[in-house]
């Protein structure tokens, strides 16, 4: 199981952040997530594999300093 905000998604071996975001609405502007508290940026979404029982938070559009 993967928790994304208030949604629960099924986990499978090798699932990536890109796959998870495809299952969530309105993630077009998502460039950064926190995976179990750690930042992961969009260039790494395809290659970052998610462990089971992970929590993902989608960060709002990056807004600068």
């Amino acid at each position: 199981m993967i928790t994304v905000g208030d949604q629960k998604l099924d986990w499978h071996e090798g699932i990536t952040i890109s796959e998870v975001l495809e299952k969530i609405d309105n993630t077009d502007l998502c460039a950064v997530v926190r995976l179990n508290g750690k930042l992961v940026s969009s260039p790494h979404f395809d290659t970052t594999v998610i462990p089971d029982q992970s929590e993902i938070d989608i960060l709002p559009p990056v807004a600068g300093g």
Binding site: D28, L29, A31, S41, P60, V62, G65
Partner: protein, 712 residues
């Protein structure tokens, strides 16, 4: 702690104006030529048109100077205002001050938005704005005592020179029993000896029992204060509650404050973690997206980039409440305690470092090829203690390091110092020299624009190369983002009123990552809306961060998520509740648009404010060197072939570099045209008469400036 020796030279009692709906409607004027202190009423028309904060600052500064006033002329003023919403405890980011003056770097108006308690304390003491003109004969301290209702001037003999020790000493001197009642504004030796001196604004951290600091960094306001021989400005005020600002609708203020603070408390831990790591979270994000300045903005990423970001500072920051205003839920002003510098006057002593924030970590870290988080801390500490703007310091040293590596300057010019990228010891040595105004540091402290001239005329360095790689526009050093792949952000920097600071517009991700504004018109619209809305925070005494750094959970479902419209509505509610002036979100933009255009015309009055001054160095637009091109060859080749339909077969890197430059420079000009049109300006970047009339700015003196520049 240093012993304080102050000699009172002037004292006037005054009757404190009561706050009415966020305003005192009074201004405090101190002329140091004559030590004259006066209190004046603020005209209702000024209030309506300029709102407060930066708007008030600019109006009073406009009236203080002529078009020929230089930054170090006595008539140049330093204006400091809060704003009608400033001083609302618990409202996130609700305690800002805005400092404005004619800048030593740009010779035009500069503004800086800064935290700490000074702005609200000054307002509650009876003054929406304070204006300092003239120059003192000897170093002085200005004391605004809102509790005793007295303004005092002191001669300040033998005060500590660095801003940290000075501020701490003055805090305990003026209220030893309740240091939280005191906020100090001070510069430092770096401000005396460079053109980019900053101002430290303090707040007392009661749980930790220490004085904390925020910086009005940009454009050399500290240099102006030091030139006036003002050692410090001190405000003293007592307790603060929501009633202190005497809002028109107290319950309305409580309601919106509670909503905004609650949302931040709930969502910040899942979003940016500002209350834990501050803006250091931006470092790894920029590094991953090729936007972190590395080695003088040549590159956007580095394998060690994360070493100066949140992963490391999360472990180093002292845990506790770090709000630079009372009850702020964002609370991003983090600190490191018991840090021990390895150089300079504090070598081997334990100190507190306020920071670093993103700009310091990027500018004084990665941009210098320094990826040691402790070296960044030491640079941060000394810049603050000396009163130096970390952004200008980082960008200026980055320029010098590249000049050194390219042989444009040599050991002969640097006093024997190896200034290769990554040399943290010599970067620190330069900063110590800047503070003392000695050695090569004294040259660097003049800023990039003057360095380019000196290096060319005195050292024989290649001017064309320096124009390309010297990251300044309008004379101000760039803040710390790579803009090569975001045309909108090139405009965000180049078309900004005061110079390349990101507080007007930060559009890199919307543009570069999301391609959310594909046409020139889309970009121009963004370069209208965002600068206007961001300007509004500085009219009101607020911080921008709570607007769009922590956003509602359902924000992504809105039509334009980047605008965070729910928060814009909350800001309209807050403004209405405090001032009693019922406004809608669009009204906020109109407030800003008037002040924004006024500042543009102010630039014009000072001899700037036209298209010729809205340029950026080519490093901000595209690759200057073949190494830069090759570092992103796939992207640039694709741009040439797909975007610009250029046949690159048979072209060498040098040819492709030239072809890309021609296209990109042309794009910047097209963007400039589109933005000017959207803003209601002429093709030379001057507001039209129609625009100033629409905004109610058609005062005779404004129309006269336009007329002098051919706009009637």
């Amino acid at each position: 702690m240093a012993q304080i020796n102050l000699k009172e030279i002037k004292s006037i009692p005054y009757e404190r104006a009561e706050i009415d709906k966020g305003y005192t409607d009074k201004s405090l004027h101190i002329n140091l030529d004559s030590n004259d202190i006066s209190i004046k009423s603020i005209d209702e028309k000024v209030k309506k048109r300029f709102i407060g904060g930066k708007g008030y600052d600019l109006w009073y500064l406009w009236n203080a100077v002529s078009g020929s006033t230089k930054w170090d002329d006595p008539e140049n003023a330093i204006c400091i205002s809060s704003g009608p919403l400033g001083g609302t405890p618990g409202y996130p980011g609700g305690g800002k001050s805005i400092v404005t003056s004619i800048s030593p770097l740009t010779s035009a108006p500069i503004d800086s938005n800064v935290g700490g308690y000074f702005g609200p304390y000054k307002k509650f003491s009876g003054f929406d704005l304070m204006e300092i003109t003239g120059k003192a004969d000897k170093e002085i301290v200005i004391f605004i005592d809102g509790i005793e209702q007295e303004i005092k001037l002191y001669e300040a003999g033998n005060l500590p020179s660095d801003s940290y020790e000075l501020s701490e000493s003055l805090t305990y001197h003026f209220d030893p029993d309740k240091p939280v009642n005191v906020s100090v504004v001070s510069a430092g030796p770096g401000a005396e000896n460079t053109n980019f001196g900053c101002l430290n604004f303090t707040w007392f951290d009661t749980p930790r029992k220490i004085v904390r600091y925020k910086q009005a960094g940009r454009g050399g306001t500290g240099t102006v204060l030091a030139d006036k021989k003002v050692k410090a400005i001190v405000a003293r005020w007592g307790s603060v509650s929501m009633k202190t600002n005497n809002p028109a609708d107290l319950e309305g203020v409580k309601k919106v404050t509670k909503m905004h603070a609650k949302e931040i408390n709930e969502l910040d831990p899942k979003q940016r973690r500002m209350a834990t790591v501050g803006t250091t979270h931006i470092v790894p994000i920029m590094n991953d997206h090729d936007c972190l300045p590395v080695n003088n903005f040549q590159y956007g990423t580095h394998p060690e980039g994360k070493n100066v970001g949140e992963d490391v500072y999360d472990r180093i920051f002292d845990k506790g409440f770090d709000g630079c205003w009372k009850g702020c839920a964002v609370a991003c002003a983090h600190m490191v305690k018991d840090f021990m510098p390895v150089s300079g006057p504090y070598k081997g002593k334990k100190v507190v470092v306020d920071g670093p924030e993103y700009e310091t970590a990027a500018g004084c870290g990665s941009n210098l090829g320094i990826f040691d988080p402790f070296a960044v801390l030491e640079i941060n500490f000394y810049c603050d203690a000396y009163g130096l703007d970390t952004i200008s310091v980082g960008t200026a040293i980055g320029f010098v390091m590249e000049c050194y590596e390219r042989g444009l300057i040599t050991d002969r010019h640097t006093g024997g110092m190896d200034l290769s990228f990554g040399n943290k010891i010599n970067a620190l040595e330069l900063i110590h020299q800047m503070a003392e105004g000695k050695g090569f540091g004294a040259v660097v402290g003049k800023g990039i624009r003057q360095m380019k001239k000196i290096f060319a005329e005195e050292y024989g360095a290649d001017s064309e190369m320096m124009e390309d790689i010297g990251m300044e526009s309008k004379g101000l050093e760039f803040s710390e983002y790579i803009t090569k792949e975001s045309l909108a952000q090139q405009g965000g920097y180049g078309l900004a009123l005061k110079g390349p600071q990101h507080d007007e517009a930060w559009l890199i991700f919307l543009d570069m990552v999301h391609n959310f504004m594909p046409t020139f018109e889309d970009k121009a619209e963004a370069l209208h809306w965002f600068p206007m809305f961001r300007t509004w925070f500085s009219l009101c005494g607020l911080c921008k961060l709570p607007w769009n750094d922590i956003v509602p959970a359902d924000n992504h479902e809105t039509k334009e998520p980047a605008k965070v419209i729910k928060h814009v509505e909350w800001y309209a509610d807050l403004f209405s509740s405090v001032t009693g002036r019922k406004v809608k979100p669009d009204d906020l933009l109109l407030m800003s648009e008037a002040v924004y255009n006024f500042q543009r015309i102010f630039n014009l009055k000072m001899g700037f404010g036209t298209r010729a001054h809205d340029t950026v160095p080519y490093r901000a637009v595209g690759p200057v060197t073949e190494e830069e091109y090759l570092s992103r060859q796939d992207r640039y080749d694709k741009d040439l072939t797909e975007k610009y339909s250029v046949d690159i077969s048979g072209m060498d890197t040098s040819g492709k570099l030239a072809a890309l430059r021609e296209k990109r420079e042309d794009q910047y000009e097209q963007l400039t045209d589109a933005v000017y049109e959207r803003r209601g300006w002429t093709s030379d970047g001057i507001p039209t008469v129609e625009t100033v009339k629409r905004l109610g700015l058609d005062f005779p003196e404004v129309l006269e400036v336009l007329k002098q520049n051919g706009v009637e």
